[in-house]
Symmetry: D2
Subunit: 361 residues, 4 copies
Amino acid sequence: MSYNTFGRLLRMTTFGESHGPAIGALLDGCPPGIPLTEADIQPFLDKRRPGQSRYVTQRREPDKVRILSGVFSDDERPEQVTTGTPIMLMIENTDQRSKDYAEIRDKFRPGHADFTWQAKYGIRDYKGGGRASARETAARVAAGAVARKIVPGITIRGALVQMGERAIERDNWSWEEVDENPFFCPDPEAAKEWAGYLDAIRKKGDSIGAVVEVRATGVPAGLGAPVYGKLDQDIAAALMSIPAVKGVEIGAGFAAAAMTGSEAADEIVMDDGQPRFLKNNAGGILGGISSGQEIIARMVVKPTSSILTPRRTITRHGTETEIVTKGRHDPCVGIRAVPVAEAMLALVLADHVLLHRAQVG
Amino acid sequence: MSYNTFGRLLRMTTFGESHGPAIGALLDGCPPGIPLTEADIQPFLDKRRPGQSRYVTQRREPDKVRILSGVFSDDERPEQVTTGTPIMLMIENTDQRSKDYAEIRDKFRPGHADFTWQAKYGIRDYKGGGRASARETAARVAAGAVARKIVPGITIRGALVQMGERAIERDNWSWEEVDENPFFCPDPEAAKEWAGYLDAIRKKGDSIGAVVEVRATGVPAGLGAPVYGKLDQDIAAALMSIPAVKGVEIGAGFAAAAMTGSEAADEIVMDDGQPRFLKNNAGGILGGISSGQEIIARMVVKPTSSILTPRRTITRHGTETEIVTKGRHDPCVGIRAVPVAEAMLALVLADHVLLHRAQVG
Amino acid sequence: MSYNTFGRLLRMTTFGESHGPAIGALLDGCPPGIPLTEADIQPFLDKRRPGQSRYVTQRREPDKVRILSGVFSDDERPEQVTTGTPIMLMIENTDQRSKDYAEIRDKFRPGHADFTWQAKYGIRDYKGGGRASARETAARVAAGAVARKIVPGITIRGALVQMGERAIERDNWSWEEVDENPFFCPDPEAAKEWAGYLDAIRKKGDSIGAVVEVRATGVPAGLGAPVYGKLDQDIAAALMSIPAVKGVEIGAGFAAAAMTGSEAADEIVMDDGQPRFLKNNAGGILGGISSGQEIIARMVVKPTSSILTPRRTITRHGTETEIVTKGRHDPCVGIRAVPVAEAMLALVLADHVLLHRAQVG
Amino acid sequence: MSYNTFGRLLRMTTFGESHGPAIGALLDGCPPGIPLTEADIQPFLDKRRPGQSRYVTQRREPDKVRILSGVFSDDERPEQVTTGTPIMLMIENTDQRSKDYAEIRDKFRPGHADFTWQAKYGIRDYKGGGRASARETAARVAAGAVARKIVPGITIRGALVQMGERAIERDNWSWEEVDENPFFCPDPEAAKEWAGYLDAIRKKGDSIGAVVEVRATGVPAGLGAPVYGKLDQDIAAALMSIPAVKGVEIGAGFAAAAMTGSEAADEIVMDDGQPRFLKNNAGGILGGISSGQEIIARMVVKPTSSILTPRRTITRHGTETEIVTKGRHDPCVGIRAVPVAEAMLALVLADHVLLHRAQVG
C-alpha cells in the first residue's frame, strides 16, 4: 500500500483529477483466465453515476469504462478473459464545465480538503476538487467490479441504513427493495420517509450525513492475516479511505461498548455439518480472520460541506473571508457511497482470497 | 504492510507467542541519531503491564524490554542513540503457567480467535492464546515508545471514555486525572463510579466493553498521503488491528450521520497567525491529510469473551459442547488497550512524518 | 515492488500489450512543484523509438506520450508542474500490423518468453509478444524522463560499450560521440567498425549480443538503504528487469574476481575539500550506499532470438516442429536498450533520493 | 522490500550488529505445518561458520541458532512444525573481542562501507563493522534453511567456480567434491591448485576475488512475475545484496554479449514428455519466468579490502592518512559467500512459489 495504491496482492492504483482528461484504475495481480468485458463493469458504474435522481449531483457523465490492457480473446477463444497482466480501466471525463474557478482557487471550502492539500503540496488542482474529488471513486467501482469476478462465490451488497437521525427498521430489511428506491434503502417504509426528508434538506441548500452497511456472504472461514493483515483491519482501511467517511465498524461495532461478555460472545453450534454462530456479533471476523459467517461492516459518511449557507473561512493568503459553495452537489453523499463501499469490500475480499492461497495453499 | 508488519516507512514487525520464550518488535526505518535507551520504553510497558490492579488480569510479567540492535554509544558519545539500522526490542516471557491445556486445545472459546485460526492454518498454538493473545500488544507498546522519540513535538495521549453504558462527562475532562485512577479515565466522577460498576461485573465473572479515545497535539498540517495512504485510513487500520477492537472513528465519527452540512462543516478563522477550525469535527484530518488541529480518534473494545458463564460451543472435531473460560482475565480489556492505542497512533504519526518528508521534503 | 510495479517510494506501474490500444506508466510518489510537460519526455522516447536506422526494427510508431494526470497549470501559474498526485503517462499503439498470428500462437519461439508465459498463465496475448514485448520499455523511458526531473543535479548517460566480441577502446570515450552514431557508441573508431559488422549480421538474418554501460554523475554520498535496500541491489534489479538482459555488474564487476585486495581497494584522498577515490572500482557504491563518486553499471543484452534461421521448437500441444521468426526485428537489441537502461537508473536514483530524505532528512 | 526486509510474500527482516548482543532473522509468511527444528537450520550455519580452515577468518563463533517463535509441538503432535506466524531466528554473538577500536573509529577503511555509512547516517557502529559486517549473512543462512523446507522438491546448491584468475574446468564438475575441500570447489584438480594459490595470498596479507555459482533443480516452469517481479530480477537483487558482490549473471550471462542469435537461442525438444532446452543458455529463466530447466546464476565477490598493505585513506575529519587493516579476515571472502548465495536463492524461489500460487492457484 503506497500513496495511491490499495491492496496487498490484488493492487489497485487510481489516477486522475476531476476535471482532467481521464480518471482510472490500474489493477495488478488479477488471476488469469477470468471472463471480463466492459459489460461486467459498466452496471456498477451506472449505479454510482451522478445525475440519476434529484437526490444526487446533477453533473452528467456517461462514465463509460474502457479496458485498455490485461484481457485477451481471439478466434479460438472468443470469450474475452484476463491474462494475469495489469488491467487498465480508463474513464474519460466529459463534463468538465468551464466556469470561473477564482473563488475556489482562493478560498478554502470548510470541511473540504482544500486547506490540507494546499498545506501539504503547496499546490493543488482546485478545478472540481482535482484529485480530492469524489469522482475518484468511479475508478474504485470499476476495479471493484473486476474483484467480484475473482471471487464469484462471494456476494457483496450494500445499503443505506441511516440518513440523518432516521435509521431503518431492521425487521423491514429487503435486499430487493434496495434497487427500488433512489437511496439504496433496504426498508421500504424508511425509503418513503426519506424522500420528503431529503427534499426538505436539499431545498434549504443543506446536506445530511448517513450510515452505509455492506455485507458479504459466501466468504469462507480462514481469510485474514494476523496480526497486521487482519481482514477487519483491511476493511477498516478500505472504507476509511473513501471520501467523507469518518468511522467504520464491524459486526456489533460501537454497540459492543455497552455489552457484557455474556451478551457479546457468540455461542457456536453445528448446523447442517457447519459451525454456526448464534449471534454473529463479530460481523464474521474473529481474531482478524473470517469465521465463515456473514461479513458485516458499516461506515459513516459525513454530510457534504458544499452547502448554500455562507460560512466563515480563510483565503490561501491567510485572510478571513466568507464562502458559499455553489454548484452541483449531493444533498446526501452517503447515497452514492453505497456502490463505492461495495467495491472496496470486494477488493479487500478478493485480495485476501489470493493472500490466503499464497500462504496456506 | 505484510502479514505481521505494520507501517510504510517506519515498519514494525512483531513476533512471538504468549507462552513461547519471548515476544518482540523489530522496528525498521527509524532515523539515526535519536537518543534511545530501554528507560525510554519501559514506562510505557509498565502502563500496559498486567497485574497492577484488581481490574486487570493477574498474570504477572515484569515485561522488561531489551534493545538488541540499532543503537550505539561509545566513550566519545556516551548517550546511546539510534543508528538507522533495525531496532530489535525483545521481551522475554516469564509467567507461562504450566497448566492443563486440554480444554482450550479441544474446544473453541466463543468470541476468541480459536476457531478462525484453526480454520485458517490447520494448527494453532493454543497455549495462552498463542500469537492471538493480547500479549502481542506489549511489543506494540515498546515500538510505540520509540515512535514517540521520532516525533518529539507531538504529544499523544489516550483515555477510556466509556465503560459499558457509562460514558464520561466531557466537561470534566482532565488529563492529569488519567494517571490517577486504574481506568485511564479522564473524568474523576466517572472513575469513582466505574470502580463499583466494574467490581460488580468482575465478581459475576462477566466482562464489559469500552471506548478508548486517543488524541495527538502538535501534529503539523500536511501529514497523510491521499488517496490510499490517508492519515485517517492508516489510523483506522492501526486501531482496528488491536485485538477486540470492533470499530474506529475520527472526530465527530458516527455522530456525523445525524449532522447537517451546516452543523458539520468547520468554519475556519485566523488565530494568532494560524488557521483555526472552530469545531474540529473532522478530528484534525480533512481529505486524508492533517489540518494542524488536534487529531482525535476513538475505538470500541468489545468485552472479553473469557467469562465464567458456561457457553455453547463446538470442539475442533465438530461436536457440540459447553465451555467455561477460567483463568486470569481482564473484566474490561478496554483499560489496558489505552496504552496500546497510544502506541499505534504514535507509530502512524511517526510513519507519516517520514513519508511526508520523503515526498515533499 | 509488486508484479508490475517498480520502486519503493517513487513507484512506476506499467501496463499494456504490444498490440493493444495503448501502453503506459503510472508514476506515483513524485514530489509536487516540478515543471513537467510532454516536451520533457518526448526526446527520450524518440531516442528509443524504432524505425530510425537500418540497425533497428522497422516498426513505425510515433510513440507520442500524453500526460493524463498529476500536473497542473492555470492563468496564475502558466508553467505546468507536478502536483504530487499520480502521473499517468499514456502512449497509444498505432502500428499493430494485421497479420497472420497462427504460427506465433501455436509454436513457442526459442529464446522468447512464449513458452514460460504460457506455462505460467495458461493463456498469453501472443500478438506482437503481448506484454512480454520490448515495447513495454517505452513506458519505462517515459517514466524515467520524469525521474530525471526529480533529481536535476544528477546526470545519467548510457552507451553501448560492446557489440558481439568487439568492445570499445576506453581511451577513445567521448560522450558527444554517443549521439553521433546509430549505436550510442562512445568510441568513434568502434562505431565505424560496428556499422559494417552489424550490417553483415543483419543481412544474414542473424543477431548479436551487446553490453550497455550507464553512468551517473552528481550523485551525493549517502544514497542506499542497507541491507536490503542497497543502491546496487536496486540497480541490479532495475537493469535485470529489462527484456533480454542476462547480467549486471557495478564498477569493476566480474573483473573483480581476478583482482587482489591491494588492487581492488580504492584508496581515498582529499581533493578540493572532497573525498576522492583513486580508482572507483566500487562503481560509486560501497556497502550498498553511494560514495559520491560516479555510479557505473553495465548490463549484458543477449542477441534477439528472432532470427531467420529455422530452429527446432515445440508447439503448445507438445509436438516437435520448426520455426523461423519473420517480421521486424532488431539485429542488436542492445542498441535500443541504452535509453531504457538510463531510464531505469534514473528511476532508482530518484527513488533513493526520496528514501534517503525520508529517513535521514 | 523495505530497508532491512527481503522478499515479497516470504519476508525476511534481519537485524543486529557484529559486536552487539545478537543478530537474527525474522521470517514472515512461512506456510503452516512444515516440520522445522533448529537441527534443520544448524548444518547450513555450520557451513558458513568462520574458523573452520586456515582459509577463512579465525573469529570463533558457535553460531547457534534459536527459534523463538512460529513453531509448535505438543503431546499430540510431537513433531515441531511451523504455525504460519513469524519465525524468529536468533543467533547470539559470543566472540566480540574487546580491543582498541580507535583506528577503525577514526579512519575509513578503503573498500569498506565505513565512509558511506558515516556519510549517510552521521553515525555508525564501527565495532567489527557493525551492521555492515558480513556477520549479518549468518541470519540469511538461517532463514534460507527455512526456505528450503518450504520447497522440498527444489534442490539448491552452490560452488566456487573461480578464484582469482583461476577458473574451474567445467568438465570436472562434481557436486560431491564440493564438500570435500575447504573452498566449495566442484573441481578436484582446481581445489588442489587453489590451496597453494590462496596460501600464498594469505601469507602476503593480501586477498583475492572469486566467482560463486548457484544452481537450482526441480524448479517448476511458471515461477516469476513479469514485468517487475521477474524471477531473474529478484535473484539479481538477492545476490547483489550480499556484501562484496559486484556483479550477477544468469545462464550464459556476460558471455551472451559475444553470441549470435543462432548460437544463443535454445532450441526446444520433447524429452520423455517434457520440454527440454538443448542449451539452457537462459539459465532456466525466459521473460522473467522459470522454464523448468535448471536455474543457474553466478555472482562475483570482490577481494576483501582488509589487507596488511598500508593504504591511503582519510579520517572522518577529512584529513589524509594511512591505514593497515589488521585483525581476523578471510583471504577469499568468496568461499564463505557460497552458503549465503544458496540461502538467498532458496529465499527467492520459495517466495516465488508462494507468489505464483497466489495469482495462479
